[in-house]
Symmetry: C2
Subunit: 200 residues, 2 copies
Amino acid sequence: MAAAIDFYFDFSSPYGYIAAAKVEALAAKHGRGVNWRPILLGAAMKVTGGAPLPQIPLKGDYAKRDFVRSAKFHGVPFRIPSSFPISTIAAVRAFYWAQGKDPARALALAKALYSAYFADDVDISRVEEVIRIAAGVGFKAEDVAAGVADQAVKDKTKAEVDAAIAKGVFGSPFIVIDGEAFWGMDRLDQAEKWLTTGGW
Amino acid sequence: MAAAIDFYFDFSSPYGYIAAAKVEALAAKHGRGVNWRPILLGAAMKVTGGAPLPQIPLKGDYAKRDFVRSAKFHGVPFRIPSSFPISTIAAVRAFYWAQGKDPARALALAKALYSAYFADDVDISRVEEVIRIAAGVGFKAEDVAAGVADQAVKDKTKAEVDAAIAKGVFGSPFIVIDGEAFWGMDRLDQAEKWLTTGGW
């Protein structure tokens, strides 16, 4: 079986959320798995000098419209959250903790976190909400609470984010197929062709 | 006939160049014309705080790869010019001067400028090259030389760029259909659906 696709994303990224709804079907169609790799865009922005889209003059207003329009275009339930963007460090730590315990449930957790934030307007910057959501996919609340506070999990999270940036990841979504990088939900068309043809 | 599409672009923008190869067929399919509106991204970046893609850490390296890959994906001849990005003020002034003289030839000039820069590696920041290219589409070289130096043409160019920014244009390509804005060659899919359905 061909190597899994690396799917980098930020839990506070609408375009990451839209891509998350599509990446598994895309990969499966071509006999590939998906490595879900949440990152922290804020750390990447320290390198690129970028800023969250909503804060940028002109681009921010466009982006808010484009999020809503793009979600509808791709058939994904979406609303701009009341708090946006947010810190997602608790969500990312919970994910990497969960991955060490039960990879299948960690994947369910990632999807549930995205859905809570962008479909149901739950503020997933709050650790209590992350714990509640993790409990909803079958983890014990007290285990999650201990996990996200564990120094080893904090270190693992930092190592994952640093490794992504070291590999050139700077945006969300950011998909890597056999070493070839595709940034943006709007590169899924090229990613699909790449999977089909092996490159051009 | 429905209103023409506004097509904003920068002559130094690879994604604008790729979109330029597609926008007329897209519009014509839906019974629309296209208003070609060259802008100066540098002026917009003063508002958004942006920087040319190649200068941005991580993103710059990705962009260079993505330009080449995207041009191939869309079937457009392309090479990264020896000088990139460049100032395109002479090209923009020549275009607006030409538009006042002969709109059809102005359109031919826009296409010839893009092709010269991105297919043939001609440095269109040089006014002599702009004049030569304009002569190639049927303008008299001395008229073009006088035109790009004319204060009224300089004022018209500034007014067009300022008006675009005032309307929220900040990128290239940037397409506006009946008031709805689509930024990026990767929004042609949504633009197409918008033309078909009238919105969603």
